[in-house]
Every structure is written in C-alpha cells, then in structure tokens.
C-alpha cells in the first residue's frame, strides 16, 4: 500500500516515561507506578548518531515530561543541533525556568508544543490531577515567550472540557499563543476505563467548526494533531487544513521510547526492536505491517478516498475490537458527501521561488524536506528542484512536462510567489 522509505522522516524521542501531571486522557498507559526509565547520556549519544546516520529530517523531544530530565534534554537538543537535525519539544512547561529556557534556546530549540486543557483553573486541576499545574503552565508559557521560544498549545478535548474550547483559545491568545490545536482524546490502547471521557462524532465535528471560527475571530493558526477520517470531516473547502492529516505511523514516522524501544507511533505500545542495540533502519524494515495495508478496515480498502484519508487512527480503532476496525469517528455512509479543498491557484505569469530544503536518496528517487512541505519525487523531479535552488522562475519559461511538475510544487505549497 505504501512505498517503503529507507528510514522514517520524523521521529519522536521520549526522554522519560515519567510525568509530573497525571492527565485523565493520557495515552501513555505504560507510564505507571514503577515506570522510572529515562534516556541516559550514552543512550542519547547512540540515538542521535542513529538519527543522523539515517538522515532523519525532524525530531520531536517528548516524554513523559522531558523537563523532568533537564540535563539530558539539553544534551539531546545540543546534539541534534550539532547534527543539523530540525527539532522541537513537547512539554507541559511546568518546570521551565528562565535559566533553562535560555539554555534550551542556546542549544537550538525554537518551538515548543505544550498541553493546555482548560482556561478554567478548577477543570485544569481536575484533568491534570494537579492543583498547581495551571499556574505553572501559564508561567512556563510566559517564560518561553520571554526567551524567544515559539509556543503552540494543544487542548486534548474530552467530555470534561469540550465546553471550554472557545474560552481556552481566547485565554491562550492573551498569553501570546498564536498556534492553537484542539484534538479529540484518543482512547489509550490498553482500553482502560475512559469511556466517560470520549466524545461523540458530532462533538468532534463541532470542534472543527469552532476551531475555524476561532481562527477567524482571534487571528490565530488552528489545527488538529491527529488524523480524522475524511468521512467525519467531509467538507474540505471549509476545513482544508484538517484534510491534510493522515496516519503516518510506520510510513514516515516512528517513536523511540525512553528504554530505546522503537514503536510505530506514540500511541502504539508494540515495539519492533531497540535502537540501543540495533540499527534504526533494521527496526524500521520490520514495520512493514504498517505499510502493507493490513490494518486498514475492510470498508476503507475499497473507498476511493483512501489515498488521502488512510482510514483514520488505528489505535483509536481498538475501541471497536482491533487495529483493523473502523475508526470510531468514521462514518463510511457519508463518503459521498466528501468534498475536497480548493487547490492553490497557479499563475503562469508570476515569479516563483523554492524554500531552503534538504533531501535524501530513496529507491524511487528522493524525499524533499522543507518547513513548507515534505514529499517524494523521482530523479527527474529532483534534478529540476535542485537546479532551481535560490532561483526565481516563471512557469511560462519551461516545457509542458516541467511546467506540470512545477505547478504541482505550487499546489503543494512548496513553490511560492517570490517577493516583488
């Protein structure tokens, strides 16, 4: 079903299993009681070496809570920066001090994704099961921003806080947060008793409507952090950015746990090998079961939206019996209502340019990686892209085949109009 990359494009690294919050919705069900593991210095060195050797483009430092291990998190950041690997951090920011923020920035960190579950102090404490978390997270956001670190916030939506969505976004805006995500709770793969937190399909879809309204009202960027089935989203013209998410577990991404175990995604518990004892590319090849389509629900296998949709979240599907069950938010009967987003306009008469990008070789050609887009091309495509580095070009200046190709780069958002 998927072309096999020689290694992942992006990797999440869990610095520790421990967390100073105990959020009711947390998917990290293996983080319990005796779970005190963390990555020590030799392990960090080994992991970064593996990531660099395998030309990984993008790393997310996460946990547990990474700032419970500040020295190791700083070391990881510095090594990633030295290796030229783009990275960011997921943290609840409760432990961020000015000194640590300054050191992290020095080590190359630029963006942080934090978790913020409600503007309401009582509800925040109820969900994180900590009476001090609200003030600490707010202070952490302020410290991060004071030190030039961009902060995006994700609100995990559950039955407890769904009514707080608007006010929470407005509150975060007052703190200077300009990138706001609201993502439905994912049932943990061990299916512990969280039914009382789960949202209905209608509530999830309404959250998308609210997000789009908030984007307009507050002038912020909104998004979701999980892949929702297209038969839930349906209206791509209204929700174009939510259409772009698909399941990348084992296809272009994986997660390294704090004991070195490599998993297809952060929500999945099954390990495929240990990066501290084996090479990443060897473990990656074992994840073929995530690339051959065996976990795609049978109803989705014949849906012609599958290439864009990918059938939703395979871990969420476990609440329906197994990884190849339907995503709880899927409603295949609505597939006829799916409307695709408008394409970006392509103008032949204006000048375009490409962003700075990296690339790596693959069996089919190359993978191109930039902050704007990441996509595979064949060798002929790469030759064109490589020839256009730092150039300004007009589509009219090329033959038909090349112009078609460049038009696709515009539609992908990779090529963009050059400044006048």
């Amino acid at each position: 079903m998927y072309r096999a990359l020689r290694s992942p494009i992006s990797v999440q690294v869990e610095m520790t299993q421990r967390c100073n919050s105990s959020c009711l919705h947390c998917y990290n069900h293996w983080r319990t009681g005796e779970a005190n593991g963390w990555l020590d210095s030799p392990s960090i060195l080994r992991i970064v070496k593996e990531l660099a050797t395998n030309d990984i483009f993008d790393v997310t430092i996460t946990g547990g809570e990474p700032l419970l291990r500040p020295r190791e998190t700083l070391s990881m950041s510095q090594l990633l920066q030295d290796a030229g690997i783009n990275f960011s951090m997921n943290s609840n920011l409760r432990l961020l001090t000015p000194r640590l923020a300054s050191a992290l920035r020095e080590a190359g960190l630029r963006t942080i994704l934090t978790s913020f579950v409600s503007h309401d102090r009582r509800r925040h404490a109820q969900i994180t099961q900590s009476s001090t978390s609200f003030d600490q997270v707010v202070r952490g956001i302020e410290v991060a921003k004071e030190h030039g670190l961009a902060v995006a916030a994700n609100m995990v939506l559950s039955r407890i806080n769904i009514a707080d969505l608007r006010e929470t976004a407005r509150f975060l805006r007052t703190l200077g947060v300009e990138n706001f995500c609201a993502t439905k709770i994912s049932p943990p793969s061990d299916l512990r008793n969280v039914e009382y937190l789960l949202l209905s399909r209608e509530e999830v879809r309404q959250s998308l409507v609210t997000l789009v309204e908030l984007e307009s009202e507050l002038g912020i960027n909104v998004d979701i952090l999980e892949c929702y089935p297209l038969c839930l989203i349906k209206d791509g013209k209204r929700f174009p950015k939510f259409f772009r998410r698909s399941c990348v577990a084992g296809v272009s991404a994986c997660t390294v746990g704090s004991d070195g175990t490599v998993r297809p995604c952060s929500h999945a518990s099954q390990g495929y090998g240990n990066i501290l004892h084996e090479h990443l590319e060897v473990i990656w090849r074992r994840m073929d079961d995530w690339r051959d389509g065996r976990y795609i629900p049978s109803m989705c296998k014949t849906c012609h939206h599958l290439p864009s949709c990918t059938g939703g979240c395979r871990i969420d599907a476990c609440v329906h019996g197994g990884m190849n069950s339907l995503d709880p938010c899927a409603h295949p009967e609505d597939q006829g209502q799916i409307v695709y987003p408008e394409r970006r306009p392509v103008l032949n008469a204006i000048a375009y340019q490409l962003p700075p990008f990296n690339s790596r070789t693959e069996s089919f050609g190359r993978v191109i990686y930039s902050q704007k887009a990441c996509f595979p091309v064949n060798d002929a495509g790469f030759k064109i892209i490589d020839g256009l580095r730092s150039q300004t070009f007009l589509l009219d200046g090329f033959d038909d085949k090349t112009r078609d190709f460049l038009q696709h780069l515009v539609m992908l958002g990779f090529a963009s109009p050059a400044p006048q």
Partner: protein
C-alpha cells in the same frame, strides 16, 4: 526580475511528484482487486484532477 528559463528539455524521464501511497491493499481475489483498481481509475477520471486535492500518482489522474 531575473528568472531561469527552460533548462530541463534534455530530461528523458517525466518529472513527477510521487505519493507514498502506492495503491490500495489487496482485497479478495485477483479479479476483485482488478475491479477495485478499475473502479478507482473510473472515479479518478470522473472527478478529474480539478477535484483531486492529493497531488500524487496513486490514481493515475496525473496524465
């Protein structure tokens, strides 16, 4: 404004943006699989590239 012109006429292979998606998983017999691919092809032709947001070669709508 300076810009580069046609420098790629010599390419023998058509330049393509690819998709990691390489076709739907197999369902049923080989005849049934052929039917699914045929159906996808038909849908692709019906909706045409104008309605297809995904830029890829998965449904052969890139012609």
């Amino acid at each position: 404004m300076e810009y580069v012109g046609d420098q790629t006429k010599v390419l023998s292979e058509r330049p393509l943006v690819l998709s990691l998606f390489d076709g739907p998983p197999a369902v049923g017999s080989s005849q049934q699989q052929a039917d699914v691919r045929s159906s996808n092809q038909q849908v692709s032709e019906e909706i045409g590239c104008d309605n297809c947001w995904t830029v890829c070669d998965c449904l052969s709508c890139y012609k």
